[in-house]
């Protein structure tokens, strides 16, 4: 059974790839403690960029915007995506998968510019609303996929049994399908939330005055005023996601695997 264990060469190659994945992020974290505005070489240790960050209202406001937008988009996408997943599973509308999965297949920039074009031509003013509308459109597909993959593994006979025993379609859905689907729905909702809060490209084209999100703010920081404050934001963001993942994996270990 030699093939059950990776060879030494394989392990060392794997470790190299892991290093490639982690070194850049480590650099970002280390430089967030650099006591130099220019951030070109290491000067000394400081917490000051974190202090500055706490008082940076633009960043805090943007973080708040991001969170609100992500919660609303995720909620809307979860409802619509679950319906889409159920409908695709039953397979009555042959064109539906193309419509639902289309936004996933397209490069982000195409969704961004086409929505920008439409919003402007229809006189929809750009702001939080336009961002949410855009985010929902590309999140639906991901929720649908998560729900659908859950449906594919579900035992249909349970529902049939319930129907045979006299349950109405609504009852059988609410009492049997929905609870069974829940892990898929939650996974989809989390995915939608993450995609929305993390999105830069589509937001870039559909954002308006005063609706700047955290990724947009980071972009302008990276592009214009590159100080270690960017590193500090990034480090904090990584910490937040790390905690979230840990908590989630404690609550429901299966969710992450989806």
């Amino acid at each position: 059974m030699v093939h059950n264990r990776p060879s030494k060469t394989l392990v060392s190659a794997g470790v190299l790839v892991y290093l490639f994945l982690y070194i850049p992020l480590a650099v970002v974290v280390i430089f967030s403690f650099n006591d130099s505005k220019l951030n070109a070489e290491w000067v000394g240790f400081t917490w000051k960029w974190y202090e500055k960050l706490i008082h940076n209202e633009n960043i805090l406001r943007a973080a708040g915007n991001s969170l609100i937008i992500a919660i609303i988009s995720a909620a809307m996408a979860t409802v619509l995506g679950t319906l889409a997943g159920l409908a695709i599973h039953r397979g009555r509308q042959k064109w539906l998968p193309a419509l639902v999965l289309g936004p996933i297949a397209m490069p982000d920039i195409l969704i961004g510019v086409s929505l920008l074009l439409m919003f402007i031509l229809l006189n929809v003013s750009l702001g939080s609303v336009s961002i949410i509308l855009a985010h929902v459109s590309f999140c639906i597909g991901f929720v649908a996929l998560a729900v659908q993959s859950r449906l594919a593994g579900m035992d249909q006979s349970l529902i049939e049994a319930a129907r045979d025993l006299g349950a109405s379609p609504w009852q059988s859905f609410r009492l049997i399908s929905l609870p069974l689907l829940m892990p898929g729905i939650i996974a989809g909702a989390l995915m939608a939330f993450t995609l929305s809060i993390d999105d830069f490209v589509i937001t870039f084209f559909t954002a308006g005055v005063g609706s700047s999100t955290l990724p947009l703010e980071i972009y302008s920081m990276v592009k214009i005023a590159v100080t270690p404050e960017v590193n500090a934001v990034s480090t904090l963001l990584m910490l937040v996601t790390l905690t979230l993942i840990t908590v989630l994996s404690k609550i429901s270990p299966t969710v992450l695997r989806q």
């Binding site: 994945l21 650099v27 439409m118 993390d198 084209f205 955290l214």
Partner: protein, 299 residues
């Protein structure tokens, strides 16, 4: 299936379908229209009809499409972007393969952890990951200075990593690598190790085992990964924008330029539609490959 059930089915599909029609299909169609129009004087689009002497005339043009072929530069840009995306996909495959194989051959209890370690960096924001490379490639950074000590010792010209196509492709690989690792792992994990044992018993060496058994079986995983890497890297603009300098520009940058700087929406639409066309072709190709690939691995 009775009538009520069919109705319910349609009612279920209706809300998401309507939403996506409005916010995905309609914008795409509008873009198609826009590509045949003139840009407005102050941005946006010029009116699509005008009335002269009480007669209605439509104002559509092929000019924007002709501009695409007018000189070879836009096609050149397209090929360059395709080249970047292809190279990214190749490098991703080469880097992802050993890692995916290692995870697939690790003991079961470690696999989840090893996979999580692959996904973890990608929960950090996309821009943060680009920014990391901006620091690493900085001319005053340790990497560039170190490399230039080497080139200096060899009597070569000093090199610059920042603002180069090398920087762009490295970052493209970095950002898209997990999209290759995950499908590849999902495929490799399902392989039946008894085949390898049998081959070895019959006298095949390690290389033969890999080349004749593992590799052909893993092709569907590679196809899936390739499509997940190739399409997004083709449309990217932030990476060339921040790391590419004057020469590392891709089609995404030019699309962005038409929409947010030059205010030439019609030409921006033409470029976007070209990119859409390529994406659709690739998706169809992938669906086809996926089918035949799946059939092969089944036999």
């Amino acid at each position: 299936m009775n009538r009520a059930e069919r109705l319910r089915n349609h009612l279920m599909a209706l809300p998401p379908a309507l939403y996506l029609l409005l916010f995905f299909a309609v914008p795409s169609v509008m873009m198609l229209f826009a590509s045949f129009r003139y840009p407005g004087e102050y941005g946006g689009l010029a009116p699509w009809y005008y009335i002269e002497d009480g007669q209605l005339s439509l104002d559509f043009t092929l000019e924007n499409w002709l501009r695409l072929f007018e000189s070879g530069i836009y096609l050149g840009l397209l090929f360059k972007s395709l080249g970047y995306a292809l190279l990214t996909t190749l490098i991703c495959t080469i880097m992802a393969y050993p890692l995916a194989l290692m995870i697939a051959r690790s003991q079961k209890r470690f696999r989840d952890l090893l996979l999580l370690l692959v996904i973890l960096p990608f929960w950090s924001n996309f821009l943060v990951r680009i920014y990391a490379w901006m620091i690493i490639f900085s001319p005053q950074g340790a990497l560039t200075i170190g490399l230039n000590h080497v080139t200096g010792a060899l009597g070569l010209e000093p090199i610059s990593l920042m603002f180069s196509s090398t920087a762009v492709i490295t970052c493209l690989v970095y950002v898209h690598l997990p999209f290759m690792i995950l499908p590849l792992y999902a495929n490799l994990e399902k392989h039946d190790n008894r085949l390898l044992d049998a081959a070895q018993d019959l006298g095949a060496n390690r290389f033969q085992c890999f080349w004749l058994i593992t590799w052909p079986q893993s092709l569907p995983g590679i196809y899936a990964g390739a499509i997940l890497v190739f399409i997004p890297s083709l449309g990217i603009f932030a990476i060339p924008d921040l790391l590419g300098g004057t020469n590392g520009i891709m089609i995404g940058n030019v699309i962005k330029q038409q929409f947010v700087e030059s205010r030439d929406w019609p030409f921006g639409s033409v470029l976007s539609l070209v990119l859409t066309g390529i994406t659709l072709l690739l998706v169809l190709l992938a669906a086809k490959l996926g089918k035949t690939g799946g059939a092969n691995s089944g036999t």
